[in-house]
Structures are given as structure tokens and as C-alpha cells.
């Protein structure tokens, strides 16, 4: 064999080693390559000294180099082994808490991006003021229509009343609106007396105080839906002006989503002094009962006698209640419902005994209960964020469909989540809180007279064995823990302490 061929073989062997080195973890590759190159140099000197090289020697050297692949493969497997033992961390308490926190973060991040969800989360929590009634003319068909005239409203407001201490009026008309852009659109606008929102007790979002230097202008309140639709929910646009019909109005705020519990779908409220409202307008009157009026009104509806009017028409007052439940109310109600339904889907007790008298220390038991409480605490924000994301990302909070979607998804998440939490807790080693694993069938269902049958699982930390009966009997009805003593340690060599 010529020296040139010898060099070609040497280059080939180096290429083999380099190819094998790609399997070696990066951290160890340099030293591994250095060792094999050094060994190759010595092997070549022993087997094929330069003038006496032969095919046989080159074959032996090639076989030596091919062994590098097995060595590299071993190091690769060894490198990945920590992840396998990490697999035992798969069921660790930290892993569980981390997973639940991840769900919360993902749902929260989505809530920040979706405008509908953002509006729901930013909406102030409020309840409509008590002692309010809606006054309308009595009709034979029982429908609510805008039948109270402006004259009636002015007359009631002008005289002190025995049963009422304040009145507000609104009348809904379709108006052409220029919401900041040249293109006009048509909205349902409620021309209302200026005290409507203070009387209802509804706080405004993005409320802006009037500029003392600017000329006084009518104020407009936007509905949550119109604000999102026309202005994209941008807070800065809340202080801009809006042309409604022939009036330039300053946007004084945005009504909270789902705040409007009175008749009529409204895109905006144009707040005007009582004297500026059109005489012939017909609408609704909201009245606040005086303490005496509240004492006298004991039902949801009351007949109102109008002493200053000669006609036979009579008025009816309906108590105003917040019909539409906000997302927060739905959430609280559904969580409570899921808690009540939980015993129907799983046992709420830990329902476990021990084969021995050994008990974990008090601190371990405390840690175990704290872990259960932490999981429950993390479930609550998940049961808020995820259903709100699902229900309100594409629909307004006042949408009945979205509210049903929130109710169903919150209930499902709460119920299934709490069930999973309890099942998960039952399968966690009382000593290290790691999930038991490696389930093995034990016994035979047809031979339960002297033995038991069921599933046996083991704690990878070597602390316990869990026996779950497959067929609960009077003497083996619930799962049992077997605490392992030191004689079991040889099985768990290398496992970390919990």
C-alpha cells in the first residue's frame, strides 16, 4: 500500500470519528474527539507503522474507529438520562403548580389581546341603585312602550312628590351620527335628562371632566358596544366630540358593559338639561322612591295616581332590578354551583387508610394540605380567565349567548378541575407529594376471598406503595398506603429524596 493511500485512510478514519462526534453532547465533544484522535494515532502506530501499512491493518483501524459510534451513542444516552430521571419530576408538586400557572398565564395573555375580554375585565363592578322604578303608561297588552310624555315628566319634576324624590327621563330615537369619521352611521340615541346616570348609580368608564375653557356642550355617553365597535375601545377617544343629528356633543364617558337594564337598545345617551328636551317627546321615566315611597311599595309593581291630570290614563311603576348578570356574578354563581355538584361526580374525602401505623409528620401533612389548597386557588383564576376568553372574545358581555357560554364553560372547568384535583391528590405520595406511577394489576377478581385485587402503584422516591382496590369490599373499600422502610432502598438507588 502506498503512503498516499495510507494518508487517505487516515483522513477517512478521522472523518469517521468526526461523524461519530456529532452524536456526543456538545459539552463533552471536544474532549471526546481529543481522546479518540489520540487513541487513533497510537492504534495506527501499533497496527500500521508508516512503511508497513496493509489492508488488514487498515481494516482493524476502521473497526476501531467504528467503535467510536457506540461510545458516542452511549454518551448521548447518558446525556439524556437526566431528563429521564427528570421524568420522575414530571409528577412532582412543582410540575403541577407550574402547569396550572402556565394555563393562567396563557389565558391572561389572551385576555390582554382580545378587546372583548379586555372590556369585560376592565368593567367596573357595580349594582344599580336601589329604590328605582320605571314609570310607564298601563297598556292592555302589558307591553312596555315609551308612552310617558315630556310634559308629564316636567310636571312631576316641578312639584314635590310624596313617594318620589327624583325623576329622570329618556326618549329613544334613531339619529344620524358622525363618530369622528366623515362616514355617517345611524344609531339608537337616548335623549336623556342630565341626571339619568347619577340616578341609576352607574359609574362611567373613562369619565372625563368638562374643560372649563371650552364652551358648554351637550354630553354623550357611549354604550360599551358602540365604543368598541366605532372607536376600538381606545381610551383617548372617550374625550373627543361626536356629532349626533344637529348637535355636537362631547363624549363624557362610556357606560359599563351590561349596565343598561332599562327598555330599549341604546348606542349612546345624549344628556341634555330638562328644558332642552323636545316637548313632544315620549319616553320613559325613571323615578327614585322616597323613604316613604319605599316603605309603601311592597311588590314589584305599583299603580301610580297622577293627581294633576284629568285623563283616565293611569301609570304603572315597575321596580328596576339588574336583570342581566355581569360576568363576575355568573362566575361566583357557577363556582358555587360546581362546588355543590362536586360530591355527585367524585368522593370529596381523601378516603384512604394505611397498612401500617406509620404516619407522615405533621409538617408533611400540613404541606400536603397546603398543596391541595394551592391547586384549588390556582383553579379559580383559570375558571375565570378561560371561560371569559372563550365567551367574550367575539361577543359583548351583554350578549345572552356569551353569558350562557361563560356559565357552561365555567361550570365545566370548575367541576372537572376540582374532580381532577381531588383524584390527583389521592395519587400523590403523602411523604414527597410526587405522583405514584407504574401501575400494576395485582390479584384476580375471582379470588378475593383470601387476597385482594386491584392496582398497585409506587412512589419513585421509594417512600410508599399505593393499593387501590379494583373491587371495593367491606374490608378493603378505600385505597391504602404502604410506607416503605429502609429495606426497600436498594430498589431506588439513585432516586432523589422527595
Amino acid at each position: 500500500m502506498t503512503p498516499r493511500l495510507g494518508w487517505a485512510f487516515h483522513a477517512f478514519h478521522l472523518a469517521v470519528l468526526r461523524a461519530a462526534s456529532n452524536l456526543v453532547p456538545t459539552r463533552r465533544r471536544r474532549e471526546w474527539m481529543r481522546e479518540w484522535q489520540s487513541e487513533l494515532w497510537h492504534v495506527r502506530r501499533e497496527r500500521a507503522p508508516a512503511p508497513a501499512t496493509s489492508w488488514r491493518a487498515e481494516r482493524e483501524i476502521t473497526a476501531f474507529c467504528l467503535g467510536a459510534f457506540r461510545d458516542a451513542l452511549y454518551l448521548r444516552q447518558e446525556h439524556e438520562r437526566p431528563e429521564t430521571t427528570h421524568g420522575s419530576a414530571w409528577g412532582s408538586p412543582a410540575h403541577c403548580i407550574f402547569g396550572l400557572s402556565g394555563v393562567i398565564c396563557a389565558a391572561f395573555a389572551f385576555a390582554l389581546l382580545a378587546p372583548g375580554v379586555r372590556a369585560v375585565n376592565n368593567a367596573p363592578r357595580f349594582t344599580i341603585a336601589s329604590g328605582l322604578i320605571l314609570i310607564h303608561r298601563e297598556r292592555s297588552d302589558g307591553d312596555l312602550t315609551d308612552t310617558v310624555t315630556m310634559q308629564d315628566f316636567r310636571r312631576w319634576s316641578a312639584h314635590s312628590q310624596r313617594s318620589f324624590d327624583d325623576f329622570a327621563f329618556y326618549s329613544i330615537v334613531r339619529e344620524r351620527v358622525w363618530p369622528g369619521s366623515p362616514a355617517e352611521t345611524e344609531w339608537s340615541v337616548a335623549h336623556a335628562s342630565a341626571n339619568l346616570f347619577p340616578l341609576l348609580g352607574v359609574p362611567l368608564r373613562f369619565a372625563s371632566p368638562p374643560d372649563p375653557r371650552a364652551a358648554p356642550a351637550p354630553l354623550a355617553i357611549l354604550s360599551c358596544e358602540a365604543f368598541e365597535r366605532e372607536f376600538g375601545g381606545h381610551p383617548l377617544s372617550a374625550a373627543s366630540t361626536l356629532r349626533i343629528g344637529q348637535v355636537d356633543a362631547r363624549i363624557a364617558g362610556v357606560a359599563p358593559c351590561g349596565a343598561w337594564a332599562l327598555p330599549g337598545n341604546v348606542d349612546a345617551w345624549l344628556l341634555e338639561p330638562g328644558s332642552a328636551l323636545a316637548d313632544g317627546a315620549a319616553g320613559y321615566v325613571v323615578a327614585h322612591l322616597s323613604p316613604r315611597g319605599q316603605a309603601e311599595m311592597d311588590g314589584p309593581r305599583v299603580a301610580i295616581a297622577d293627581g294633576g291630570r284629568d285623563s283616565d290614563d293611569s301609570f304603572i311603576g315597575d321596580r328596576i332590578q339588574c336583570q342581566a348578570r355581569g360576568p363576575w356574578d355568573i362566575y361566583l354563581f357557577t363556582v358555587l354551583l360546581a362546588l355543590l355538584a362536586l360530591p355527585a361526580v367524585t368522593s370529596v374525602t381523601m378516603g384512604e387508610t394505611s397498612f401500617s401505623s406509620h404516619k407522615p409528620s405533621f409538617s408533611r401533612q400540613l404541606y400536603r394540605w397546603a398543596f391541595l389548597a394551592a391547586k384549588m386557588a390556582l383553579l379559580l383564576p383559570i375558571a375565570w380567565c378561560v371561560p371569559v376568553d372563550l365567551a367574550y372574545s367575539a361577543a359583548a358581555s351583554s350578549s345572552v349567548g356569551a353569558q350562557y357560554a361563560q356559565l357552561v364553560s365555567t361550570f365545566s372547568i370548575c367541576l372537572l378541575g376540582m374532580r381532577w384535583i381531588l383524584l390527583d391528590q389521592r395519587q400523590r405520595c403523602p411523604v414527597c407529594l410526587r405522583r405514584v406511577c407504574n401501575p400494576a394489576r395485582v390479584g384476580d377478581a375471582s379470588r378475593t376471598f383470601l387476597g385482594w385485587n386491584g392496582t398497585e402503584m409506587i412512589c419513585l422516591g421509594g417512600h410508599t406503595l399505593l393499593h387501590v382496590p379494583g373491587l371495593p369490599t367491606s374490608w378493603f373499600a378505600t385505597q391504602r398506603w404502604l410506607y416503605l422502610d429502609r429495606s426497600w432502598e436498594f430498589l431506588f438507588a439513585g432516586s432523589s429524596e422527595g
Binding site: R34, E35, Q37, S38, E39, W41, H42, V43, R45, E46, A63, F64, C65, L66, G67, A68, F69, R70, D71, Y74, L75, E78, A493
Partner: protein
């Protein structure tokens, strides 16, 4: 690894070879007759279990002999204890690879 851990025959041979003075990979291959794909991974395992340790030869020594430096292996205290246990388990180990003392005893006999 526990000092009395049970080693495979291959690992015991490699320990014995290192103890006998064959302290780098190729010499162990030569001594035991095992292929490189068996010897090197086995040495990695033994090193991981702290039965042997490795060190690089000083560059100056290698330069003086005009060759690349080698990686040498030696037994740890745990490795020696494990080797003693393995010798009891594999009585022929000492005959397959005579240790330094055994070779000396044989020469004197």
C-alpha cells in the same frame, strides 16, 4: 454506586486490566480482547460510577516523545473495593489478567 455493587464480567475485566497497569483505552482493548465499541462505553460507565478516574497526560511528556497526549485511567478506592468483590465473584479474573502483584509472585515462583 455501592462498593459491593455487582459488576458485569466485562466491567470487571476492565477494572482488573486498569489495576494491572493497562491504563489507557487501546491497551485495555489489547489486554482484554474486547472491541473499542465495548471498552470505551464501559469505561465511561465506570467513571460515572466513580470506580475509575481519568487524567490527561502532561503535554510536555507527549511533546518530548513526539506523540499526542493520552488519557490515562486509574482505580479509585471504591473501584478497588469493587474489584475485590468482583474477584470473589469471578475467580478466573486474576488468571485472565494477572495483576502486578500476581505477576510478581508468579515470577518469584
Amino acid at each position: 454506586m455501592a462498593p459491593d455493587a455487582k459488576l458485569s464480567h466485562t466491567a470487571a475485566m476492565i477494572l482488573q486490566a486498569i489495576n494491572a497497569g493497562f491504563i489507557y483505552g487501546f491497551s485495555i482493548m489489547e489486554m482484554t480482547g474486547l472491541p473499542s465499541g465495548t471498552v470505551y462505553p464501559a469505561m465511561r460507565r465506570l467513571e460515572r460510577d466513580a470506580l475509575i478516574v481519568s487524567r490527561w497526560e502532561r503535554q510536555s511528556i507527549a511533546d518530548a516523545e513526539q506523540r499526542p497526549p493520552r488519557k490515562y485511567y486509574r482505580l479509585t478506592a471504591a473501584g478497588r473495593t469493587t474489584l475485590e468483590a468482583s474477584r470473589r465473584r469471578y475467580p478466573l479474573l486474576d488468571r485472565l489478567i494477572p495483576s502486578g502483584e500476581t505477576r510478581e509472585e508468579a515470577r518469584q515462583a
